[in-house]
Each structure stands twice: as structure tokens, then as C-alpha cells.
């Protein structure tokens, strides 16, 4: 024990000669790394004209629409998610669905707010469900996919409104039924193609079923839409 003390004293003895005054300036260089090459591409977007910004975002949204039309296993929808497309689709669908069959005694068709809430609330619930089951997809990526895949149903809504101009029953109903069924299947298939990969294989069906239910309910709202007299 004594030896350690001795060596300790010797060690500290060397340092006792050093006097540290308070005003020794600290010298050196602080280098901030300029950034990896990929970061260099993201130049400041504050200086570009507004038209460029809007066009770039529109192009991104448009590219995603194309991806929904031809659902391949591409990761563009997932990687560069945005919520503009879903918002646009949701607003369009809600506008077209509202004000159906205005009848003083009845509630009429779903109002704008109701459709909006159903779509966004439904998407959030499905996303939570997928994450609780152990999915690796992020919250907003999932919202993005579910929102973009409403596009076939929005197209079906437009077609239905056109078909309804020629009457509500009989042939028009059959056409609308076929169109809505096809588009809701397409929506389910498209979103499954993007979402299913992020799930463990023995739970895929558990994640796909709520998506199926979601688009089925929206499809039902479209099918049962009848315009005001």
C-alpha cells in the first residue's frame, strides 16, 4: 500500500510544477464537416422561384399517382412520402359525396366533414393496427400509402356521378356496382402491394383485412350515393 502511495506522490509531484493561469487562450480549429455528397444536392430551396417549388411537389405527387395506377414493388411511395396527394383525393371525394339526396326529413348523404373524418380516422386506425402487429413501416408512410390508394375509388366516384346522370336504377346500378367493385379491389390490391412487405409473414392477413374493410366501406358510400332530386 505504501508503495502505491509513494508512486502516486511522485506522479503528482511532476504536475505540481505546472501553473495554470486563467488567461491562457485556447487555440485550435473547429471543423464542421461540409457534408456528404448527398447532402450537397439539397441546396437551399428558399431562393428558387415559387413556381419551381410547386412544380417539383406536383411532379412528386403525380409520380405517386402513376405508381398507384400500376402497383409495382417500387419503394418511391414509401421513401418519399407526402400527404398532399391523400389530402387532394380526400377533399375531392368528400366534395363529391356530400349533399347526396337532400331530404328535409332525413339526414341525407354523408356530409363533407363525415367523409373526411372517416377517411383520416380510418387510415390512422389501420396504421396503428399495423404498427401494433409489429410492422416496420413508419406512421406517415402508411398514411401516405393508404391515402394514395384511394385514387381508384375517387375515379370510380367520378364515373358514378356521370352514370347517375342517366338514372339511378337498373342498368345504371349494375354499371356502378361493377365500377365500384373493380376500383375497391384495385385499391386494396395496390395498398397491399406496398404495405404487406413490411409485415412479418405470419401476420400479413391480419394487416390486410382492415385495409379491405376500409376500402369496402368507402366503396359502399360511393355505391349508395344518390344525388339530390
Amino acid at each position: 500500500m505504501a508503495e502505491v502511495e509513494e508512486t502516486g506522490k511522485l506522479m503528482f509531484a511532476d504536475l505540481s510544477d505546472v501553473s495554470i493561469s486563467g488567461d491562457i487562450p485556447v487555440q485550435g480549429e473547429i471543423n464542421v464537416p461540409v457534408g456528404t455528397p448527398s447532402q450537397d444536392k439539397e441546396y437551399s430551396t428558399l431562393d428558387e422561384p415559387v413556381k419551381d417549388t410547386i412544380l417539383r411537389d406536383l411532379k412528386a405527387v403525380g409520380k405517386k399517382f402513376v405508381h398507384v395506377m400500376y402497383p409495382k414493388k417500387s419503394s418511391a411511395l414509401l421513401r418519399d412520402w407526402d400527404l398532399w396527394g391523400p389530402l387532394l383525393l380526400c377533399v375531392t371525394l368528400a366534395l363529391m359525396l356530400q349533399g347526396g339526396s337532400v331530404d328535409r326529413k332525413d339526414d341525407g348523404g354523408p356530409q363533407f366533414a363525415e367523409v373526411f373524418v372517416i377517411i383520416w380516422f380510418g387510415s390512422v386506425i389501420i396504421t396503428l393496427n399495423s404498427k401494433l402487429l409489429g410492422g416496420t413501416i413508419s406512421f406517415f408512410q402508411s398514411l401516405c400509402v393508404l391515402g394514395y390508394c384511394i385514387m381508384p375509388l375517387t375515379v370510380a366516384m367520378v364515373v358514378c356521378r356521370l352514370v347517375l346522370l342517366g338514372g339511378s336504377w337498373g342498368f345504371s346500378f349494375i354499371v356502378r356496382l361493377i365500377v365500384v367493385t373493380a376500383s375497391f379491389s384495385w385499391s386494396t390490391f395496390a395498398s397491399t402491394a406496398f404495405l404487406a412487405d413490411s409485415q412479418p409473414p405470419n401476420r400479413k392477413a391480419l394487416v390486410v383485412y382492415p385495409v379491405f374493410l376500409f376500402y369496402f366501406v368507402i366503396g359502399w358510400m360511393i355505391l349508395t350515393f344518390s344525388p339530390s332530386a
Binding site: D106, D107, N202, L206, M221
Partner: protein, 292 residues
């Protein structure tokens, strides 16, 4: 002879695990200090590793029947309620429509690992199937009010009734000092799965035959009621006869009320529904309505 301190420690811990297996409801302490004396097989630390990957599956195997120990504010806590596979959910649904005498749903089908996926999505599906099927003869009315009412009724039933049943059973069990009852989650789970039979029933209710509708509702009530009775009878049968029968009767009566209430609200016969004034192209719908 004196046992060494290490031996004593290990025996104590074995006792603790046995006690836990008998009464998983008991609170557990983690004794990380004794981990050096326990063999590789037993866990010295009862804490659950909540990294959400295969670690969770391993731990839940070891801790079968024990409560998760991560806080309710963590996401992993809720993930533990969704720890099911597709095949498991399908098995549980099958078990809910085929009640066999002696087959306790909780013990046999759930095997004491309840989930919330089944009850939640069965309730959601039931809400929409009721609203859509009930709306079918008159879908010009829009289905949002139907969905709202259905959602409120079904979800209240699926949560409040299990809460009441579980609370009552736990209180009785504590008084009588019986073996452990069911956890709240297991009660919610059995109630949720028992509602499954109503989904195909509500779809078949579209067919406009009154006798068929009553037959369907009878079958559904018998099946789902049996699942509930078979599950809860073993727990109350040790109690006094009066309590046992009263409990089971209450469960059945509430279930019957739910079924009949749903039928009457969503599938009113045409004579009760006010016929609104509509545009001429809807006359065809009204004419078919009147034949219900």
C-alpha cells in the same frame, strides 16, 4: 446440516416461480442480485425485455400468464396485446362459433394469452355489417347515423359488460378466496370473440323473412351465449348456488338484450319506418320496401 446461502437462495426463487404460476396476478419483483446463483434455465430477472423483436416472443413463453411489466405509457405495452398470428386469430374465431361442453374458451382456445386484435376488429366489422345491412332497404338515408349508433352500442357492450363481469367475479373470488379468476383482458377477449357469430347473422338478416330473422337470432344467441356460459360457469360454480345462477343469468340476459336491440333498431319492418317523400325514380325502392 446447514444449507449454504446459495442453495437457500435458489430454493426461494423456485418457490416464487411456482407461486407465480399459480397466481399470475400477483405483483412480481425483479431480483437481479440473485442471477449469479440460478442455473441457466431459470431467469433470475423477471423483467421483460421490451425490444420489439423475437426477444419478446421468448420472454412471453417463459412468462406465460404473467402480466407485462413495461409501463402503460410505452408503445411496447400495447404491442403485447397484439401478439397474435393469423392462424391463432382464425383458431380463436373457430372456437367462438363452436362451443363444446367442457371447452372453456379462455383456458382452451386462448390458452391464457389474450389479444385485443380479435375483439377490436370483430367489433368494428360488426358495427359496419349492422349499419350496412340495416341500411340496405333504405340506403338513400345515408348510413352515418347508423354507424354512429352501432359503434356506440357495440363498443360499450364489448367493454363495459366485461368490466362489470370481471369486477364482480374478482370481488367474489377475493371474498371466497378461490383460485384465480380471469384477468380483465381475458374477459374482454372472450366477449369480443363471442360477438363474431353476429357478423354473418347480420348479413343474413338482409333476407326479408321475419321467421328466418328470428331463427337466425336464436341460433346466434345460443352459440355465443354458450361460449360465455361455458367460460364463466367454472369460475362461479364454486360460489353459492344463488350467486352462480344469478351471474350466469345476467350474462345471458345482457347478451339477449343486445341481440334483440340490434335487430329492432337496424332491421325495423317497413310498417314502423316512416316513408319519406322521394323523387319518382325512388318509387321502385319503396315498393320493394313494403313487402318486408
Amino acid at each position: 446440516t446447514m444449507a449454504s446461502p446459495d442453495d437457500l437462495k435458489f430454493q426461494e426463487f423456485e418457490e416464487a416461480t411456482d407461486l407465480l404460476l399459480a397466481d399470475p396476478g400477483a405483483s412480481t419483483f425483479s431480483m437481479s442480485g440473485s442471477s449469479s446463483t440460478t442455473p441457466a434455465g431459470a431467469t433470475g430477472d423477471i423483467k421483460l425485455d421490451m425490444s420489439d423483436d423475437e426477444g419478446q416472443e421468448e420472454s412471453s413463453e417463459l412468462l406465460r400468464g404473467e402480466k407485462q411489466t413495461s409501463g402503460f405509457w410505452t408503445f411496447a405495452y400495447y404491442q403485447s396485446f397484439f401478439n397474435v398470428d393469423t392462424m391463432q386469430v382464425l383458431d380463436r374465431v373457430k372456437g367462438s362459433v363452436m362451443p363444446l361442453p367442457g371447452r372453456n374458451f379462455i383456458k382452451h382456445t386462448l390458452q391464457s394469452s389474450p389479444d385485443l386484435y380479435g375483439p377490436f376488429w370483430i367489433c368494428v366489422t360488426l358495427v359496419f355489417s349492422l349499419a350496412i345491412s340495416g341500411n340496405l332497404p333504405q340506403f338513400h338515408r345515408g348510413m352515418v347515423p347508423g354507424v354512429t349508433i352501432a359503434a356506440v352500442v357495440i363498443f360499450l357492450y364489448a367493454w363495459l359488460v366485461p368490466l362489470g363481469v370481471w369486477g364482480f367475479l374478482t370481488w367474489r373470488q377475493r371474498e371466497e378466496r378461490q383460485q384465480r379468476g380471469y384477468s380483465f383482458l381475458e374477459t374482454v377477449c372472450v366477449y369480443g370473440y363471442s360477438l363474431f357469430i353476429y357478423i354473418p347473422t347480420s348479413v343474413l338478416w338482409i333476407l326479408p323473412f321475419e321467421w328466418l330473422r328470428w331463427l337466425l337470432i336464436l341460433v346466434a344467441m345460443v352459440i355465443s351465449g354458450s361460449v360465455l356460459v361455458l367460460t364463466f360457469w367454472p369460475v362461479v360454480c364454486d360460489d353459492t348456488k344463488v350467486t352462480a345462477f344469478a351471474t350466469v343469468a345476467t350474462i345471458v340476459v345482457l347478451h339477449v338484450l343486445l341481440s334483440i336491440g340490434c335487430k329492432m333498431y337496424f332491421f325495423q319492418t317497413a310498417t314502423l319506418t316512416p316513408v319519406p317523400t322521394l323523387a319518382p325514380n325512388h318509387t321502385a325502392a319503396i315498393l320493394t320496401n313494403k313487402t318486408h
